[in-house]
């Protein structure tokens, strides 16, 4: 007999293996070797979280109680999957186009990014999923107790509650580790998905092994098993037509609306091919999972003593034949089913809770709104981690206080009926443009209420919330309000009764309120985009040009997406508009794109609210609305060629006007420079002439005066020379006559040299230089003297122009791909947006001339040098001060 310790060891070993699998998959994905992680078979296997412990243990119990009816739970999903061309394809396409993060996000996004709907769906999902998580904990602890009970002399029965608690803690840990690794909830959780795929294989193999053992090992072949079925208590098919049809419908509905199914079906989907394979492969998986359920059930009924729990036949039948390795495998199968469901459900629910409940509360609690600085990512991740813990805690509490008495199948069905209430709003939103927010809210609330009243609350038993008299006579003796005989219709099965009334009233309210309401423009835009997702591949615009500054938007985006990602996005958008640098024009298209990127992290409603705070309210113009109307749509399609042309023209015009502006500014600057340079040349000349005349006159001068005058002449001459040197240097660089002397040198040494060289410059407050030593340890093969010249210039600039009370310069080094980025960020007031375009031009100087003490050639020289070194120096906006980025390629030879 297997000892408890061995059982725990096997469990631990299995969990450690899962950790390793998840870790390895995450690592592969990070290195970009994720081809097989995207394989359709992995996607198909990840869908198997539909088969929870309810399937693994409960299906056999269900079959032992009611015969073939158990199969309805798998027929529904089969129909949905083989009908992928109807709904799933559209759902997946929308999920990707709108960067949907959860089912609550989808509903909220469809109905005008309404957070009210997000909250309703989130609450519904949490209430509906909690019993289900409790069910998984219960099945794991029950299977532990089977091994305990089978040992007569053996170890003390383990404390079930403690087991459940440890299981819950372990699952929370795993989920937090691998489920909240990246902030972008729309990104794929490679580690989790791969671990789940492995678990899917384990549970399938386990159930098939038990089935094969029962059919060929115990019964002696298919013919024999048929005979045993014919002799069993479930030999005749007790068909209940109402339950047969409505359970098939219910499982199909739940398959689409369960938060965890939505997570793996839509959020974790990468490409439509995966769906094409899963369309037949997942029904095949379900088929194999159900194939041996009836044989195991009838053999269990035959060989096990009367009164033993049929929910555990999968374990107890092999044990009663002393097949311990098989029982162990089957135990692992059940363990896999339970854990994979809990992990994905916790991820899905935590995303919903954090995006639709925590973030909106945080947003409205902050006075400053979205544009204040500080990183939000930690907050989002923290709230997701806490939600995971909270969800599992709720499941554990439900397990503790419900006592875990009810049959597995009953709890599962209650949960299904709860989440299925989302179906009308979901399908209506996918296929009917007229579906409106009020309708969705009314339908959800109506369905949820009926479900809670007629199915969920009665499930706590007569001692629970609804008393026995209420159940029998209705509240306050009102007969037609009896929870299980609403409107006086008696004799229906409770589950069928609840499904019938909740779905009827839900759909009814949904249609009625949709027909009666007049949706907001944003809602109509979203509706058109969802329903016509295959035609509107380009999104209609929800924003008109607002008063937003690109820099404000960048500050906000950096807080949510992180610095490098936000900068890359802004840069690519600017490049698409034909602009250089990091700040694109704030066009409606750009705002739309930015909002969509953000909604991948924090959900559509929150992203919309945050962008709205900066842009200044949700505004949809009349033209945008026209685009929704079909007539306008046709005209748009008709003139799409014209449109692309005009777009191109706009882009060219923008480039031209930019160039023109730059030219004008340059010409003004050049004029200014000419007078400036003549002034600069003249001043030293004048004093040189004056003092040399004094010396020439040879008057009565003391040796001291003579020395003084001649040293003035020399100083002025040096100043002249320096000015001319700079000009010469620049013209050499520009003409490409420069010869580089590349050598190997460590970046730390170059930076040390640059900082030391600038430490003596200038008066005023001391500049504090912050550096990160570890990251600077990079070997470079380049012209180090020239590079140091650039660094010296940038540090000297910070020293001269940083106007903070305690000036501070941060030098940070990052490596991205094959590029080394060295950022020089000071805490002064930075460079105004309108001047950012010209600072690298020759002769440009922003502040007053006297203070600068140069001819405005420094940055121009820097740019030329970096060009020659194959790198780039750019101004980095939105860093809370003046910031320059030196980027240079790491040559492959020296990147090691």
């Amino acid at each position: 007999m297997v000892g408890f310790n061995i059982l725990v060891l096997v469990c631990l070993g299995y969990v450690i293996m899962l950790f390793l699998v998840a870790f390895a998959a995450d690592k592969r994905a990070r290195e970009g070797r994720d081809r097989w992680l995207r394989a359709p078979v992995v996607y198909t296997l990840s869908l198997s979280i539909y088969c929870t412990a309810w399937t693994f243990y409960g299906a056999v119990g269900y079959a032992a109680r009611s015969g073939l009816e158990f199969v309805t739970i798998y027929l529904g999903p089969t129909l949905v999957m083989v009908g992928w061309w109807w709904a799933l394809r559209k759902l997946v396409r929308i999920g990707r186009a709108q960067r949907v993060t959860s089912i609550a996000d989808l509903i909220s996004s469809r109905y005008g990014k309404s957070n009210l709907l997000g909250v309703i769906v989130t609450l519904l999902a949490v209430v509906g999923t909690t019993p289900y998580i409790a069910l998984q904990l219960q099945s794991v602890t029950l299977s532990f107790s089977v091994f305990a009970a089978g040992r007569p002399e053996g170890w003390a029965l383990p404390d079930l509650n403690a087991t459940a608690l440890w299981v819950a803690v372990g699952l929370a840990l795993f989920t937090i580790l691998f489920g909240t690794r990246n902030l972008d909830a729309n990104e794929r959780h490679h580690g989790v998905v791969t671990a789940i795929a492995v678990e899917a294989v384990v549970k399938l193999v386990a159930l098939l092994a038990v089935g094969v053992f029962v059919v060929w090992g115990v019964a002696g072949g298919p013919a024999e098993i048929t005979r045993i079925i014919e002799e069993s208590p479930i030999a005749t098919w007790q068909m209940n037509p109402g339950r047969w049809a409505s359970l098939t419908f219910l499982s199909a509905a739940a398959f689409l609306t369960l938060p965890r199914m939505f997570q793996v079906l839509v959020v974790e989907n990468v490409e439509e091919r995966q769906l094409g394979t899963a369309a037949w492969a997942f029904p095949l998986y379900l088929f194999l999972m159900s194939l041996f359920v009836v044989p195991i059930a009838v053999v269990g009924l035959k060989v096990m003593p009367a009164g033993s729990n049929p929910d555990l036949f999968v374990l107890t039948v092999p044990l009663s034949f002393d097949q311990e390795p098989l029982a162990m495998l089957s135990f692992l199968g059940g363990f896999s089913s339970a854990t994979s469901m809990v992990i994905v459900a916790a991820i899905a629910l935590s995303t919903m809770v954090s995006n639709h409940i925590v973030m909106p509360i945080w947003l409205s609690a902050r006075k400053g709104g979205a544009s204040v600085s500080g990183d939000v990512r930690h907050l989002v991740l923290l709230s997701r981690r806490l939600s995971i813990g909270g969800v599992l805690l709720l499941g554990y509490l439900y397990f503790r206080f419900s006592g875990g008495g009810a049959a597995l199948a009953a709890i599962g069905l209650i949960s299904f009926a709860g989440v299925a209430q989302v179906l009308p709003a979901l399908l209506g939103g996918l296929f009917w443009r007229g579906a409106a927010r009020n309708g969705a809210a009314a339908g959800l609330i109506a369905g949820f209420t009926i479900w809670a009243y007629s199915l969920f609350l009665p499930s706590f038993g007569e001692a629970g919330i609804l008393s026995a008299t209420t159940m029998a006579n209705g509240p306050w003796g009102i007969g037609w309000l009896r929870p299980q005989a609403l409107f006086g219709i008696e004799g229906m099965d409770p589950v069928v009764h609840a499904i019938f009334w909740s779905m009827l009233l839900n759909t009814g309210a949904f249609f009625l309120f949709s027909l009666a309401s007049f949706p907001t423009p944003l809602e109509r835009l979203q509706g058109a985009q969802f329903v016509n997702v295959f035609e509107h591949t380009r999104s209609a615009r929800g924003w008109t040009r607002g008063g937003a500054e690109a820099e404000d938007l960048m500050v906000m985006a950096q807080r949510i997406m992180g610095g490098p990602q936000a900068q890359a996005l802004f840069q690519s958008q600017a490049a698409a508009q034909g602009k250089e640098g990091y700040l694109p024009d704030v066009t409606p298209d750009f705002i739309e794109r930015l909002e969509r990127e953000l909604s991948g992290s924090v959900g559509a409603a929150t992203a919309h609210a945050m962008v709205g705070q900066i842009v200044g309210g949700a505004s949809v113009s009349v033209e945008d609305l026209m685009a929704v109307a079909d007539e306008a749509q046709q005209i748009l399609e008709y003139s799409s060629r014209l449109e692309t042309q005009s777009e191109e023209l706009t882009r060219t015009a923008r480039q031209l006007s930019e160039a023109n502006e730059k030219l004008t500014q340059l010409s003004i600057q050049k004029d200014a420079f000419l007078s400036q340079i003549s002034h600069e040349l003249r001043t030293p000349m004048t004093s040189i002439r004056a003092f040399s005349e004094i010396l020439m006159d040879g008057g009565p001068l003391g040796a001291q005066d003579q020395h003084k005058y001649s040293s003035i002449i020399q100083d002025e001459a040096i100043r002249l020379t320096r000015l001319l040197d700079d000009l010469l240097d620049l013209s050499v660089l520009e003409n490409g006559q420069v010869i580089l002397n590349p050598q190997n040198e460590n970046l730390t040494v170059i930076l040390d040299r640059a900082v030391a060289a600038t430490s003596s410059i200038g008066a005023g407050p001391e500049l504090e230089v912050l550096r990160d030593g570890g990251r600077e340890d990079v070997w470079l093969y380049t012209d180090t003297d020239r590079l140091a010249q650039v660094f010296i210039n940038l540090i000297a600039n910070a020293r001269k122009y940083c106007d903070a009370a305690t000036p501070r310069l941060t030098i940070s080094v990052t490596r991205r791909d094959n590029t080394l980025q060295i950022d020089f960020i000071d805490n002064g007031s930075g460079i105004p947006t309108e001047s950012q375009g010209v600072i690298f031009e020759k002769f440009s100087r922003l502040s007053d001339q006297a203070k600068a003490g140069g001819a405005g050639l420094g940055l121009a020289i820097c740019r030329e040098i970096m060009d020659k070194l194959g790198g780039k120096v750019t101004y980095l906006p939105g860093q809370g001060g003046g910031a320059f980025r030196v980027a240079m390629p790491l040559s492959p030879l020296n990147s090691a």
Binding site: T78, W237, T248, T537, R538
Partner: protein, 99 residues
């Protein structure tokens, strides 16, 4: 709703693909019908679980086969590269790939 310049006749390949999609849409309807037949068959009472089970599982397997055949053809015809433009996609820009 239908745009006026929808072509009246389609090239053979497009025509076949649309009919393939029609067939794919029909599969779940057919499956639902076949799965509901036991309601009629058992209304007389006394059907056998063994034979009923055999029927359900055979229908199931047939559905998997048909769905497999159709979805492979559909994915192939929509072009190997994802995202597959839908049959009713009138040459818009392909959807941006995320992640």
């Amino acid at each position: 709703m239908t745009p006026p310049r929808e072509p009246l006749f389609l090239a053979r390949q497009n025509y076949r693909r649309r009919r393939l999609a029609d067939a794919a849409r029909l599969v779940p309807v057919l499956g639902a019908l076949l799965f509901m037949i036991p309601i009629l068959a058992t209304s007389g009472g006394g059907a056998s679980t063994a034979r009923g089970g055999m029927y359900v599982f055979l229908v199931w397997l047939a559905l998997i086969g048909v769905a497999g055949f159709l979805s492979r053809r559909l994915v192939e015809r929509s072009g190997a590269a994802s995202p597959a433009p839908g049959d009713d996609n009138k040459g818009g820009e392909p959807v941006r790939e995320n992640g």
